[in-house]
């Protein structure tokens, strides 16, 4: 990266020609009034495209908004918290109840996060020290992460295809399972979704850990080596403790991302999916756009949001901690 062409010599002349007090005053004046107008586009866009729809959605969750009332949505009958109560009741003909979806979503994000963490850490450790061809291995490790989610979903849909998909063929060839295992419907669809998601998302942990490893001084390992500590011991007493902040951040972000994953199950299973794979975002989509119960859908997504706030609050807390220490 070439450094920018800043006229450094003119900086010098400015110091010599202007009286020092005037320069200081000018510098001070630079930081006095924030140029709020620079934030205006961001704020305006976020207000129109995120905050306003969000507010409408909160209101809609308190009304009986469906395909009959949508034409005059501002005058849809107000029903209070009825939608929230409905969300906890047993689901309609299509798909699972909101409560079951909450359970599916939580297990999905916890299961994938637990699985991707060791893979990501091991992968980062493997390529941390230089060796011949490391650049290529690092590139290869990023490929699943770079593949668009919709492509990933289509590919795994095919890999898990009943009877002729690669996974059924291989498992049948090894006499581990029947060819007709039906990975994409029924209870196994949850695990099909987990496998597909693990494949595409472990490089996120890998990237974060790799970044964190760059911040650990090699002196620590050298002194441990002199003291006769084995590499395994070094990992548990130096690497892991030093990685804790980065790892914590990675795990929280990964939990959040998985909770909100709509595209993968949407394309992998189509709508409606089996109840075992009916994650909350997908359930909200079906409730809103296939059974046209917008009020209920809005109530369910607000409940999702409240659930998501739990890890988010952790995250914000962590950031505050960082500010206090620096």
């Amino acid at each position: 990266m070439s450094s920018p062409q800043v006229p450094l010599d003119t900086v010098g002349t400015a110091y010599t020609t202007a009286p020092p007090g005037a320069v200081r005053r000018k510098r001070m004046s630079m930081w006095q009034r924030p140029p709020y107008w620079m934030m205006l586009p961001s704020v305006a866009l976020l207000l129109i495209i995120v905050v306003a729809p969000f507010a409408v959605s909160v209101y809609a969750s308190l009304t009986k908004l469906n395909q009959y009332t949508i034409a005059h949505w501002t005058s849809a009958p107000f029903v209070g918290l009825e939608n929230y109560a409905d969300a906890f009741r047993q689901g309609n003909a299509l798909g699972a109840s909101a409560l079951q979806s909450v359970w599916v979503s939580v297990s999905f994000s916890v299961a994938t996060t637990i699985l991707i963490t060791p893979i990501g850490i091991i992968a980062a450790l493997l390529v941390n020290k230089p060796f011949r061809g490391r650049r290529w291995v690092r590139t290869l490790f990023l490929v699943p992460y770079v593949m668009p989610v919709f492509v990933n979903a289509i590919v795994w849909r095919m890999l898990f295809m009943n009877g002729w998909g690669l996974i059924d063929q291989v498992l049948a060839g090894l006499h581990l399972a029947n060819k007709d295992t039906f990975w994409l419907i029924g209870p196994r669809s949850f695990w099909a979704m987990v496998v597909a998601d693990v494949w595409s998302s472990w490089p996120f942990v890998y990237l974060m850990v790799l970044a964190g490893l760059q911040g650990i001084s090699s002196d620590l390992y050298e002194s441990a080596n002199i003291d006769g500590a084995s590499p395994v011991r070094g990992f548990f007493s130096i690497t892991l403790p030093m990685l804790r902040p980065v790892l914590g951040l990675a795990l929280l972000l990964s939990t959040l991302n998985h909770f909100n994953n709509f595209t993968l199950p949407f394309i992998m299973f189509g709508t409606p999916p089996s109840p075992q794979a009916d994650v909350l975002p997908l359930n909200v989509y079906i409730t809103s756009f296939q059974t046209f119960n917008f009020g209920l859908g809005a109530a369910m997504s607000l409940m999702t949001l409240i659930l998501m706030m739990i890890p988010a609050v952790f995250y914000i807390r962590m950031l505050r901690l960082g500010e206090a220490t620096s």
């Binding site: 900086v11 490790f141 490929v143 668009p148 095919m158």
Partner: protein, 288 residues
Amino acid sequence: MSYSMSAQQRFWNTLRAVGIALIALFILIPLAYIVLISLTPDTQVGGGSLWPSHWAFENYAKMWPTVHLAQGIRNSVIISGLAGLLATLVALGSAYVLARFQFRGRKTFMLSLITIQTIPSVMLLLPLFVIIVVIQDAISIHLVGRYFTIILTYMTFALPFACWLLYSYMSGIPADLEEAGFVDGCTRLQVVRYVVFPLLLPGMVVTFVFSFLLAWGDVLFASVLTSAETHTVAVSLQAYVSSGESGGDVYWGQLMAASLTSGLPIMVIFLIFQKYIIGGLASGAVKG
């Protein structure tokens, strides 16, 4: 490094090679299967044998009309490219103010950026659509299905993360140079354009790539806010897959060829900029 390797070192080197090989297999087997299916004649997919009787390179020619691929890719490039570019520029303004100034509401704004990230996007789809319809009725200009609408939507969704990313880059750059430029009589805009912009370029590349990825990968909003003329490649593939559910025949060979083709440009972009991306995440993540 000494010439002869110790037994212990050799052990760890072997272990590393085995580990890399295992992970590489995990990555490559699905990829190899995509390539294999993309070269299998459509009539043989699902026939039970893994290996096709002949290589069906014609899948790569036939796929274009089957899934409206060319139009989808062109729209995706236009929409994701502009959304990424605009998000980066707009976020630059916010990141500059957030990183360089202390003011009331600064912390609130930064926290609300994180909060916005946690809003499930499904929740915004219908109200956003309703608001867009209300606006288009008010100004009597058609908005649904326009490039303009979907670009603004994606760039706004990319903004919170873009602001945070650029903010952490900004914080790493000393303010001295900006002060110098200011003392020399530059306006605020000139300081940002000639001093901040070049220094921040690596961070802006990373921001662009992530915003671009977000727009390229989305199916949900594109499926509602785009028309037959402006639909993205994600929508055309998704529509094609779900046509199989309603009883249509899915040409898996062509579909795999099309998936590969639509994933390739983004992979190339990401891998070109990977040096910046790893470095950028390193500085951002370690700082927290």
